[in-house]
């Protein structure tokens, strides 16, 4: 089986020779490039790259620091991750369970290279399901009145567990700007519409009202502006006049699962690079 590899995501001002320089740096240190994918935003003059390599002698931690410095010297921001690192993930849920089961089953089957360390909910409804998967379940009630306190408890838990990724699996609360700033790590949300259409509440009702012929789901990083963060993945499915709101909800569940699962997978594989309010997904 392959030894550890490193994956770097880097971006910064485009410059002549950048592809050769990065490849050369790795080569000179005895590394072997397995995958390299780059993109140029011609208008903005930005260069983006995802590059994966086997460092000589499995020397991952030294190379991680060294690559970071090298990229910085080129004026590039970089994030370097070892394939041996398993990020620690928490899933937030409320009462809907379809996305939760989908994520938990994928995780159990080994589809996700991460540790699912906590399920956090404002309700106890999914506690038995979480136990069935052997997952620790934390009930932290959040109401309009107790939001600040609830978020403080959530943050304390995430820090204690050193959680590196939060996935909102149809969690029905909006995380405050303050929470996001303090957590300062990625939060992936699934919204049950084809954003930017039908942002906000009850998107399936909005879709039925408008008479659209396709409904969608959108996985995005949560930001301070509701349903407006960088989009990672979207998909749609066809509906007709025969489908009432309940049918949209049912059909939408399958969409939500598949779109969220794909976004989480890409994130965990270090394929998603955020810039401005958009993403580059190296798939």
């Amino acid at each position: 089986m392959p030894t550890s590899t490193l994956v770097a995501l880097l971006h910064g001002p485009d410059q002549p020779g950048i592809v050769a320089r990065v490849a050369g740096w790795i080569f000179e240190r005895g590394g072997n490039i397995l995958h390299a994918d780059q993109h140029r935003d011609m208008e903005a003059g930005i260069f983006f790259q995802r590059i994966e390599w086997q460092p000589a002698n499995g020397n991952t931690s030294a190379d991680t620091r060294a690559f970071h410095d090298f990229a910085a010297a080129l004026g590039m921001k970089s994030r370097v991750t070892s394939s041996a690192h398993r990020p620690r993930m928490a899933v937030f849920v409320s009462k809907f369970d379809h996305c939760f089961h989908d994520l938990a089953l994928r995780w159990k089957s080994g589809e996700y290279a991460c540790d699912l360390v906590a399920v956090v909910s404002n309700h106890s409804d999914l506690e038995a399901s979480a136990s069935g998967y052997g997952l620790p379940y934390h009930v932290i009630p959040v109401t309009a009145a107790t939001k600040a306190e609830g978020e403080a408890r959530q943050l304390a838990l995430l820090r204690e567990l050193d959680v590196e990724l939060v996935v909102l699996a149809r969690y029905m609360q909006v995380l405050s700007d303050d929470f996001l700033k303090k957590f300062a790590r990625p939060v992936i949300n699934i919204h049950h519409s084809f954003l930017p259409a039908f942002a906000g509440g009850r998107p399936y009702h909005q879709a039925a009202e408008r008479g659209v012929k396709l409904i969608g789901a959108t996985a995005h990083y949560a930001t301070a502006v509701l349903d407006d963060g960088p989009i990672i993945q979207q998909d749609v499915t066809r509906v007709t006049h025969r489908h009432g709101v309940e049918d949209l909800v049912r059909k939408g569940r399958d969409l939500e699962k598949i779109v969220l699962a794909q976004a989480v997978r890409w994130h965990l594989e270090n394929r998603v690079l955020v810039y401005g309010n958009k993403t580059v997904v190296f798939d």
Copy 2:
């Protein structure tokens, strides 16, 4: 080959026995039902039906009137059309020609059971193309200053030609509410986004700006509110960060063609029933 058939589109308050009553009425007059498709909006209590039959003795015009009266007696609105009737269609264009060529080629190949009687444009750019298809081309300039006058000339032409359907094939002018009221017949527009996302101008630029992962096209009946009329058909195609605005425009052309072509086809086959701001499409 089949003799003439009649197609009725009817809708009105749902009532017990309505399916049997309509079928019975046709049967008693010696008609043979070929297709029947119905829908109930349970919430609104409305019944919708598309029914196609061969009247006895090919007695289409008498049956047309009689069915209309019968439906009215049940409190239903109806539109009855003979398959022998070829509606008269006009296509409005500006400078983009992809939807125009697509419609003209489908029409020439016999895919549309209609007479394409006029191409109307505010520019002369597509005149040679229209001539190549043997289609009369009318240049009627429309500017902010001459809009009222231009629309009056357009209306006069449509009336003179007894046009029953106008298709806006990437026509870059907004038809005024006054025009739509006076024409009082269906106008189908193609908008180059997945409505309600990115209504208004430059939707591909808006899409690129927002970083969506799918772009769409929407065919809808034009109403007084821009890009807000009843949606007939929509479709999407996948895009990535690699696609700049020009790529979206190019990929979008294929979407626009196919979505508009399908909407026009359904309309011509009397498969589209409008109610409120939505459509029932009996496909």
Copy 3:
């Protein structure tokens, strides 16, 4: 909420007035038609219909028999089912668990109007998972040498439990013609390719070998000819040269789940009518 309804699936030689006659029969007995969908195979001269109605006074069992006789008098085969009836379903599994979890979760969430009465397997691998859902699990080993005996035990179990539908959820054994004849009730299988391409074993390997750009999944009724029964549902997903066989397997799992789930749903809602080696799906 609605009282019990009846759903009839009927087909037989096309004849003038058939739509009106069926509707009239229901109407005369005080029934109210909720949905009616019909199809004519013009070439073969066959009429197909799915019709759903509320019988007067909730008189479902009398109407069931009477409708059957009425259809027979028209030369039509019919199957009439009450919405109050919950079919008894068994799921056959081997070692892959994704389709099993998907079906079990949909059933638990109330998406399927059936009783899931048994999980049958030639291995014990999924026993704990079945227990987690509270489902009885029966290990009946089947090898080349013990196939006849194993199938006899399976049949005895299915009869004892009065199972009306068997779903093969990636069950890795081929059911013998003898088994299918003796069971004489529907068996739905999921095959992991876009049939008729890549029938038989290792379809993802075949797909990778051939270099196709889409992979598929097919849900069909099992017949004596392997992977050749009437197709209920199919879908595909895009792959590229970057996807090795393992990726096809992973991506295929999501396809298999969704295609099988849809086919089972349509079957349970009495929407699937088999004729010849094809299906009419009234969706």
Copy 4:
């Protein structure tokens, strides 16, 4: 606007440092890499790359030769093309015109960077259409009896015109192995099924007979084995029991157009690399 660029497609035995070596070679000669995309077939141990760069001083012809030698020294096969080069393309047609119109319109609109130098047909049916686009039309009759002679005339014409790509736009004759060997340049064919399902004649009839729920189209390079060459692109569309063979034919036309157009585009942009009986498409 960008000056001329070079695109190299190369493949050969995988080797450590290959990405860095190629990038380094270009960099050392003053070139600026615009795009680079690579793939490893891990099982077969083959490395594939598409790399596009601006050579120093626009020195394209010297760099073309030099790169070819450099790649050969690494044991790699390569094809290097200047963006200034417009390949000469011929389209073969019979009587169906939809793919022909689609290609011709895309070419006229500037979507294809090639010279469409000839339309070749075994019938005169599309002569007027070709004239409308200003395209030279060559009638070369081909029957079972005259096939060898017809193909000899076709080959002579292709050589005289220095044609570099032949597109079979629903050309209803099979090109002989002898023709393909002598032409020895790429020939792209569109087959109206989702290969390998329904190879050979009358695929829509085969599809209707089998009762599939999706129909497809496949663009592939023509080889000596009918409908078995390396697949470039495929797509499908949904059909139901309501669609007779004529509907499949009509719906299939739209698929054929879009699939063939995409394959031709990728080929012209030097994005398709053939190995074994498969393609790597760098899109």
